[in-house]
Symmetry: D2
Subunit: 348 residues, 4 copies
């Protein structure tokens, strides 16, 4: 495992997602956030002046005085994290890839490109094979992490892959931090449920099938399971809770499935990646768990929790799963993706 | 329609549910809450002294000075509403029926008795035929309303009965007022989702099939659809939101289903019962509705709202439905049940 | 009292405050919202198309199809309510006054003009005498209602005017609806207290002294009491709660003060104005009241509640007061102002 | 500084406060929670079986299997922390002191005993001199920490002691975790403010004067300042926010006071006690801070934050202060108290 220090950049460093990236990189044993890039407007200012820090952990030492630079492709380190808003991420990320950067992105724009890995390191590390195929397009690379709800769902589903997943019906109860800043007005969120999040259901339905799919000639072949997602916003700060029912093709007992959840592990664990949780999936036996306020933060937000596994009267089995949407579902996901690439020698 | 005034009693008048009954009866054109019955401990006290009023509408005029009486069968009016806790409701309600009372109950104890109507007046008014069959047991009668989540669900499903309901998967996001008082500790509820409510899923799964079932020789024959419910508690005060997916046996377009929602009406509407909403089911076109804070109170909490009808990738169709859990799902439901019985001449 | 119907206009009809005005005017016995005025952009559109209705009461019948018109001075009825944002209200309201309109405004821009009444009808109806003095400036008039926290505070203080108010220290805990829409991001508001609201403390400190002041030669002479306000935002939807300590110059017992709260009434009550609550100030004896969720809606939101009157160890007395910020503190306040003007023959 | 390991006991180990103590002691460099004591009922059971863990940090390793023992004086280590409920703490703590234990208590029962230190290590470490005087009563000792709101307030006030504190008016906005478990029903807390907490105002008013008082012949002489507290419960999980106005006898500029906040430090810092924050009082310059969700957790919840220092129109100065009520205001306070006693050689 590499021990050297690797300079990294953060595109969109002054936004809320950028802050989450910098929080995730604070004290990181490998990555040094050496290049904070943002729009022209912020360029040249101290980071502390260019942003309004909104997290409940203070800014890392030294960060306040770093100078924000304009996001110009070709400048900055080879490895850049993209915390860009989807409105601009598509073109900017492409320009960075064309300039030779390895772009590890949290934005949705390139996720469905068949040649771009939609990576969850415990689930589909083999999808990194797609990176080599991008070289016909650009000297760099783009690797993405999924939508925040999708990461959580696919971690739980991946544990059950051996049972021939046929269908998955998921109802999400999503935290407001998933909507960015300013995001959902408090007048809408307080004491309320909003049974709609624009574009979210479509993302969950397609991204989950790509993640669980396999690398084929022309990119990733989607997994064949049917997926239906109902997305809801609830007055929770951090942590997406998901009620899941599945149909499977292989007969199984509760013990079989439970054992599969317990046994789930992946390359981040065997490679001991810095951000990898010891236990990527944690089954909780208490009848009323997982709960976002109590469980979203396990192993610094990188563990996905599962509970309430029981038969379903309509499909075959049902359970609840939960994960930290801005850590495992966003910045932590991207950093783990980059760690996996480093460990595989893909970042020279 | 009867215009005379009918004295009614309320069993458990000092509890939270009792308060909701008295709130529902305030200014009622037919029913006079003449008899407030509670445990021995409260007997003989002024109502205002025997209870801590917790509702956001003030106590009705005159109520404060009414004297609470012990809940002795045979005393009090013929028609009594039961706001009793399930711990004691079973025996007490039976004793009242044996003493000749018509007990209109919100408690769960007798709901699954095949000779007891589990009544939603818009959905299964014909189940009142069971009352006559109770006369072999006792001179009085017991009529129940469903669990709060179930009322909402079955109102929406009843509109689609013509399409041969085969399966229903519902995920509820339930308000804290559904847990009574003191109910859920705020330490658990604030900024959190609790993915479990004891006994709730089983109630929804069986009660919905009884309500949509048909009266047969030996009581109600359950409807044949499969039902799976995931129950969650969310930090909302009033209003249960439900994400529903259904499988149907009759091919249908979105317009067919939408028209069925729009056309839904029932005996409470044709009989113009005092508590009946003009529109028992209201479809909302806005993409992010219904929402509990905005929609639970429609038509004084008696209208169930529906929205987001769209195809489901796993079953056939999906939608969101919402209702006021302490009104349409509890006290208002019971009062409407009693109104229907009066209108049908069952309360002499 | 006039019985005829008076056409009124609403400036800024499509915004959140405009919706609250229209909600307040729904079914009003005197006022007909005949003219819905908004910016050029909205002009010519159906009201339902020009706005996103965000209230928990449905739009009044007929409102959806009314056509929004551009806010051009001289058009529309003589009496116009201003629901305009402070960014534009100053100039537009002046232009309407110059064109002869009577502008009853909720905006802050003209509140501190010495010739403009800052009116709370129960507290300072005599300040309407200022209107006549505006005629040197413009043929119309501008009358304002105070900031939402200030209305509540001054209603409670006005009851104690006879005790020689010397100082008032108030700490507000304000609902998010007071911040308009989108207002406070839910990421900031959920499970949090924000101990700052821009400009709020200054408004409370000066406006309360103007309201309790007296009409003098050169406009209103401020009341001499010292006022200090700490403003906080709390995760409440509607209802501002205020913890108040006061110093008074006239020795008093608790019974004296309590009697003053109970006796408080005003011209809206004696004139039986349509929006006037029977009891403008309601003292609640329960030790833990008033509470926003339970008490903000009393008498359709027009009653201010008070409780916990007790000696203060630093000043003389302390108590809690509470009012509905978007009703008594905004649209309801303005409508009551207009009703008072009509009753006094100031709107011909 | 001692390096040896000191066995400690926890009285009331299975309750919510007991959990907070054990959480605070997890990984403690000095203290080993060797003795978990609870009521007879829990005695003999595994800790994991005797309690329902409610914190968002998992139980420390090994804790689950420790056996709970009955709280019998004379057994267990010399140093015991009391997490007992006030209903029973008075007698039990006395019995432990009589049996020779050093009882470091979070309960309120002995706080106002003139011979018992009401200790905030940064504020009044000299009050530990009282312990020697307890020896006429019992061979052990009782040392208490203040009410959660009072700790926060006195930390901020202590910084300003040099300016001759004359009066303090404080309005608290307190988190629900301060009410224990089950504590405040969610039906009361959600979207609401409860302007009353039984006994809280009295505790703040008297305890603050004892803490800032001085050791005299007959125990602690109360500080002479007048204190008035308004206590409110708000829908926040952790962190008490306090709006404070003070009168001082020494003329000061804002810079003087600000410098005093910045300079504040104490024995825990000079002794480098394990639980001591580097900065016990942190002034935040942002105009809208401190906020409980963002700032309560600073330095693991042991730092009290201050902000918004500005002149007060009624008293002299006003500011906002905030602290973590279950850490700095309870278990963390007690552990810091014990650390100070160890460092001073009072625990042999």
């Amino acid at each position: 495992m590499t021990q050297r220090r690797i300079d990294v950049g953060v595109l969109g460093a002054t936004g809320m997602v950028g802050q989450q990236f910098l929080n995730q990189l604070a004290g990181h044993p490998w990555f040094v956030p050496a290049w904070l890039a943002a729009s022209e407007r912020s360029g040249g200012r101290r980071y502390a002046d260019a942003t309004t820090w909104r997290l409940d952990t203070p800014m890392a030492d030294g960060l306040a005085d770093q100078v924000v630079e304009p996001a110009v492709p070709g400048r900055g380190p080879r490895l850049v994290f993209s915390a860009l808003d989807a409105k601009v991420a598509g073109e900017i990320e492409q320009a960075f890839a064309e300039a030779g950067h390895i772009v590890v992105s949290n934005a949705r724009n390139h996720r469905l490109d068949p040649m771009v890995p939609l990576l969850v390191p415990e689930v589909n590390p083999d999808h990194l094979a797609l990176v080599a195929r991008q070289h016909g397009r650009w000297p760099g690379a783009i690797v993405t992490n999924p939508n925040c709800s999708t990461v959580v769902l696919t971690m739980a589903l991946a544990a059950l892959r051996g049972f021939d997943l046929r269908a998955c019906l998921v109802v999400t109860m999503q935290a407001v931090s998933g909507a960015g800043y300013p995001g959902v007005p408090s007048f809408d969120a307080l004491g309320n449920v909003i049974p709609f999040i624009a574009g979210e259901e479509e993302k969950i339905e397609i991204e989950s099938r790509k993640i669980l799919g396999s690398v084929a000639e022309e990119g990733v072949a989607l997994h064949g399971m049917r997926v239906s997602a109902h997305a809801n916003r609830v007055p929770v700060v951090d942590g997406h809770t998901e009620a899941v029912s599945i149909a499977i093709g292989v007969p199984a007992t509760r013990e079989d499935l439970r054992a599969a959840f317990d046994a789930f592990t992946g390359e981040p664990q065997s490679l001991r990646l810095p951000s990898a949780p010891l236990q990527p999936l944690l089954y909780l036996d208490a009848p009323n768990r997982p709960q976002p306020r109590l469980d979203a933060g396990r192993e610094r937000g990188m563990t996905v929790t599962v509970g309430r596994l029981r038969p379903c009267g309509v499909l075959d089995w049902r359970f609840v799963t939960l994960g930290h949407n801005t850590v495992r579902g966003a910045a932590g996901a991207a950093v783990l993706n980059a760690e996996l690439m480093v460990a595989k020698g893909m970042v020279e």
